[in-house]
């Protein structure tokens, strides 16, 4: 293939819409042609930047109260009410009747989810890891102390310097190259949602910097508050990949684990045990995405 033929296929190539045969032909060409490689890089950065911008914009996340109202539609009773009122459902929701109904449903959901969650933890052997089953079992090692403090204390309300892109993050901290960051954000959001068993939306997503250390910072909103997931370069710090550190710092629970050369933090207002369970639940997903990113 020549450059012209390859460039005509850039869009479907980046969107992963080509046949394996065409994909191989383009990969072969790009491996030998730096100009085409650079153009593909431009396209990929363009797409990633756009995805990140939308994902980080809170206007495009639903109000948790709206999601709760929507869930109430799964009640046969509320569906009948909807049929009666048609598109004037807001009025119906505004009534005292709906408030009482939602409260009942909310209590029901909360009770079911919480009891199911507790049961899963206590009976499912795969949901706990021996090294981290007890929150106090793995204290934060000295080598990670500074990073943990940064993750918890300095990211509150995220008053750190915001960085706009991979490029800027890498400029601050050359090892902090978080390729595929949108994929990481969405995968983490979905994994957290699966763990907490109710809707979780991305409130913000950005890079930020503290003391020359760049962090990818994903802030998730759930009905019980906010959960921060931070990823940063682990540098030369050594840590057992199966261990999850956890502790409480100034009222925030933080769990921390290492994946290859990255360190991941889960910070929330949940109890230490619940936060650890959440971190354990999302660990396979986070590792998988970081692993894929590192292979790009």
């Amino acid at each position: 293939m020549n450059c012209q033929e390859v460039r005509e296929s850039f869009e479907p190539f980046i969107d992963e819409e080509l046949s394996v045969e065409m994909l191989n032909k383009i990969n072969l060409h790009v491996a030998a042609c730096s100009a085409c490689g650079e153009m593909i890089g431009l396209r990929e950065r363009f797409d990633a930047r756009l995805r990140n911008a939308i994902a980080a914009d809170s206007r495009f996340s639903p109000d948790p109260e709206f999601v709760a109202r929507l869930q109430s539609e799964f009640s046969p009773k509320s569906s009948r009410s909807f049929a009666l009122f048609g598109s004037g459902w807001r009025l119906w929701f505004a009534s005292g009747l709906s408030a009482a109904l939602l409260l009942t449903i909310g209590t029901y959901y909360f009770g079911v989810f919480r009891s199911a969650e507790s049961e899963a933890v206590s009976t499912n052997p795969s949901s706990t890891q021996p090294e981290a089953a007890t929150p106090s079992a793995v204290a934060v090692p000295a080598a990670f102390r500074t990073l943990v403090n940064m993750a918890v204390e300095e990211h509150k309300s995220c008053t750190l310097t915001n960085l706009t892109s991979n490029h800027h993050a890498a400029a601050v901290n050359p090892e902090a190259i978080f390729l595929g960051d949108h994929n990481l954000d969405e995968a983490v959001r979905a994994a957290v949602q699966k763990e907490v068993r109710h809707n979780v939306s991305a409130a913000a997503s950005h890079f930020c910097e503290a003391q020359g250390q760049a962090f990818r910072h994903l802030i998730l909103r759930e009905r019980e508050g906010y959960i921060s997931v931070l990823v940063t370069d682990a540098g030369n710090r050594q840590q057992d990949e199966n261990a999850i550190f956890c502790e409480t710092i100034e009222g925030s629970s933080v769990a921390c684990f290492k994946s290859q050369r990255k360190t991941v933090f889960v910070v929330s207002e949940r109890s230490e045990e619940a936060n650890l369970r959440l971190a354990q639940g999302i660990t396979p997903t986070v590792r998988s995405v970081l692993n894929r990113s590192s292979q790009l």
């Binding site: 869009e11 479907p12 969107d15 819409e17 153009m39 431009l42 396209r43 950065r45 363009f46 797409d47 930047r49 756009l50 995805r51 990140n52 911008a53 939308i54 994902a55 980080a56 914009d57 206007r59 495009f60 996340s61 639903p62 109000d63 709206f66 999601v67 109202r69 929507l70 869930q71 539609e73 799964f74 009640s75 046969p76 009773k77 509320s78 569906s79 909807f82 598109s87 459902w89 807001r90 029901y108 079911v112 706009t164 892109s165 490029h167 800027h168 959001r189 979905a190 949602q193 699966k194 109710h198 809707n199 939306s201 991305a202």
Partner: protein
């Protein structure tokens, strides 16, 4: 698990299947309506239709794609009711003359990037949202929008070109770029 959620003949529970991408549905509805209240109403109406029609859903296509199709059809129906014209692309000729591939200017904020996308005709920006942001394949996007797959590809190409031009204009206006930098 919802206690009143319908199941389809494959045994899938609508609520359990829907919940993971409620946020995606809202994002698309918000994009289409440009209004949070209308977006909520659109998602709500789509979910109600989904509940009623879930017995016809088969897992041969993704539920996300199925629900997005409902969202689009509802939105078109509502626009027709209000006699709002659906915007089209007036600058096709200009876009087709562009031969270079500028990068996104680095100093632009997320807000400026989204504003540039909002300036695109809906027929173009909705494809960027479906393919770039929501991750649908060309075939799924074609089904959702009820247009041929070739049209998906050509519109998407034009949308991305147009967006780059909008972003460059924004960067030039903000003083982040000089004219000479963008001359092919």
């Amino acid at each position: 698990m919802g206690f009143g959620s319908p199941t389809n003949p494959d045994g899938l529970d609508f609520e359990a299947e829907l919940l993971p991408f409620i946020g995606d549905l809202y994002r698309m509805a918000r994009w289409l309506t440009r209004d949070p209240e209308k977006a909520e109403e659109l998602v709500h109406d789509a979910v109600i239709l989904g509940i009623k029609g879930f017995h016809t859903y088969r897992a041969t296509s993704s539920l996300k794609s199925w629900m997005f199709t409902i969202i689009y059809r509802l939105n078109i129906r509502q626009n027709q009711k209000k006699k709002l014209p659906i915007a089209d692309d007036p600058d096709e000729l200009l876009i087709n003359q562009l031969a270079y591939e500028p990068d996104i200017p680095k100093h632009l904020t997320d807000e400026e990037i989204i504003a540039a996308l909002e300036r695109l005709p809906v027929s173009l920006s909705e494809l960027v949202m479906l393919v770039n942001v929501e991750g649908f394949t060309y075939a799924e996007a074609a089904t959702i929008l009820q247009i041929p797959i070739g049209t998906v590809m050509s519109r998407l190409y034009r949308a991305r070109q147009r967006l780059r031009v909008e972003l460059e204009d924004a960067a030039l206006n903000a003083g982040f770029l000089e004219r000479a930098e963008v001359t092919p």
